[in-house]
């Protein structure tokens, strides 16, 4: 019963228009690093240990309240498997932020991070915000990627870094909130950077006030 209500709630959430803006976030990483689990933990606060490979793409919607604003997140969960790559890369372009995930118990998933980051650079916009997340940090016994290595790599790539666990609900919420924050920062940055351009576009009336301006442009 409870989950039925949840479902309806979720549906309502996606059709709800009572929010200030919408961000699109993409979760990427090798197969079986825990992308879907991570999303389900965040959106539904649920976890299941069973592994089911994602088909192509999926998304969930969650509205959060951050910095006095209601922000609707459309979080895309992608299939890690190579054969879906063409679908998933097509969605890079519309994403404002990325969660690049690896599994701390899986060396291969960590070494693929570099490749994933290249993918982002290729297919996404130039200011794409990326968080590097080492998932499954509850499985300390099976850890093969030290936290330091993760941190070093994230610094090298210029991403922020979290270790998280979808199973034990460690750092999941924090990861998303941090990503939302840095997208917000990027947003005001790009708007303020655009301002001088806007001024330039409307130089008309200004010409009468500052006749010197066009000459400066001309003195090449």
């Amino acid at each position: 019963m409870a989950s039925a209500t949840d479902n309806r709630y979720g549906q309502k959430e996606s059709s709800d228009q009572n929010f200030d803006y919408m961000f699109k976030i993409l979760i990427i990483g090798n197969s079986s690093v825990g992308k879907t689990s991570f999303l389900f933990r965040y959106a539904d606060d649920s976890f299941t240990p069973a592994f089911v490979s994602t088909v192509g793409i999926d998304f969930k919607v969650k509205t959060i309240y951050r910095n006095d604003k209601r922000i609707k997140l459309q979080i895309w969960d992608t299939a890690g498997q190579e054969r879906y790559r063409t679908i998933t890369t097509a969605y890079y372009r519309g994403a404002m932020g990325f969660i690049l995930m690896y599994d701390i118990t899986n060396e291969e998933s960590f070494s693929a991070v570099q490749d994933w980051s290249t993918q982002i650079k290729t297919y996404s916009w130039d200011n794409a915000q990326v968080l590097l997340v080492g998932n499954k940090c509850d499985m300390e016994d099976e850890r093969v990627v030290a936290a330091d290595r993760g941190r070093q790599l994230s610094e090298h790539l210029g991403f922020e870094y979290f270790e998280a666990s979808a199973k034990d609900n460690i750092n999941v919420k924090q990861t998303f909130e941090r990503l939302v924050d840095i997208i917000c920062e990027k947003m005001s940055e790009s708007l303020d950077a655009a301002d001088p351009a806007v001024t330039g576009a409307k130089q008309g009336p200004q010409l009468t006030e500052q006749p010197a301006a066009p000459h400066q442009d001309c003195a090449c």
Partner: protein
Amino acid sequence: MKLEEESWENRHYQLCPMDLGLFQALERERVLEVLQRDKALRTIEADRIRRLKVELQGIYHQGAKTITRPYGQRSCARCQRPLGKFWDCGSVCCGCSHRICSRCRVVRSAIEWKCTMCHAFREFKIKSGDWFLEQQAKKYTDIKENGHETTGDKLLQSYQRLSFIAVVPPTPPPFKEVKSFNKSEEPKTSKPFTKSMENLMMSVSAHIRKLSKSQNDLSVEAGQLTVNYGRLNSRRKSLSEGALDRACNLCKAPSLPDLSQNAKSSEQYASSSSVYLTDDDVSYTSAYSDEHRDSNSSTGMDCGFFENSVTGEIEVAFGYNNRTSCLEITIKACRNLMFGDMRKKCHPYVKVRLLPKKYHNNKMKTAVRRGNNPVYNETFTCALEREQLVSSVVKVSVWHSRGLKRKLFLGETFLRLADFSLEKTHTQRSVWNTLGPKQRHSLGGDVELFPSDLLLLNAQLQFLTHTDDTLTGSAGQLKVVITDVWKLSVSKTAYIEGVLHLPGERELVQRTALKKTDALQMSFRVSLQELQQANLQINLWEKHTFSLADRLLRSARLAGESSWQRLQQSPGEWHDFVLPLHATVSTNMRS
């Protein structure tokens, strides 16, 4: 490393083209369900953005309402309150460079403030996700063409081709209880659709493409896809696009070829309905008139922004009563009007005006009707001399009435009476005319340049046959005299260019400097046959002071066989024509 990257990319493009046919039926259904969900979400989002835009438009109109005088240095650009010379003199907003009084400011920090309008712009950019689209546009230049097509849509289309079941949206999965996270092969774990959601999706699926320039512009290069959606695209794009789309189109300079292309398409329309109208879709209402001075208008923010997306047609019939010397204009009906706010009902009415204003001073309005396909059947009569028929233009505009609030523009069209050959018959013939976006408002700095919202140019044309030229037999000369050059009170560097486009891509060009006193004369050597398929374009150019490139200010076109027939039937006589000179978005430059 570099090599590795490339090979990875190549592999994607070559080995795994986005061919959904590769997937199994079950996978396809699964992805389809996600895509449909996404589509529903985007539809809702598009609706939200449209409402934001209507709101912003409201704010804009509040401010711009009373600007009738030349751009005043001494009044607040927002509230029009007069400003003092020394005391309470306002200051210039860093966003829009207009002088703003202290009340119309939104203070962001101790030193930083913006005028209410600029603030509203910024808020809109944030809320609509426009900021992101702008950033994207920096990287993907093709976004302008493909912007409205999202990956989701493309995939959906390809699915619809591939999947037999996918012609209709999928039936919603059963409303099952889902115990925590439990993903299995069947689609039962996916979030179920409610019935209402599905209905919504179906009902608005027609609209989504028009407005699908929401945040998720996941367009992919066409080459990356093996499916062919060209067929669908072209049909859908021919619908009037949303304002955002237009804003986006604006970034591309509508160059002269574009212009003539537009004209060609409207010519096709004309041939079927026997009306020709030079309503090239090149002029845009803009918030700030000053893109006029700027060659690269900013990324869509302040250009086509206030444009309601204009769609729809209006049925108008004209008749001329010789006995009473009255022109009868019947407004029959409108169809497919586009109204910004989908949640409210449209209350349209039609305004009719005879132009030029100098001669006719009667405005006519129909009653307000309801809905997007209103029927009026109202006839207006206005006294008009027969001789004036050919030189008159009827402006028909459709507005949404909001009671006491400011009315909203829904579309307009200009009809040249000369095209209807009213002198011959009294019977009214009704014709459907497509509504276009608003002609440029004279706001801000260019007020004195364009005193009315539309400039009508009176031209006299004459066709002379040279009978002595026995070889070709029908060679002749087309003479064009523009009689009211004084109207074009532009700067001294302006000049008029007449271009006669002839069949076979040939064109004859004449340029004449503008002298305020004289009538302006041009002549073209052209044969009778050629003239029948020709079209004449009159462009007003201005030499730019600070750059080498010239700028196209306005342009008018004369085409259609009916016009030329008049000339040919009585060679040697002068015929009057009235040409609407449309303002062009001043991104047409040339050196």
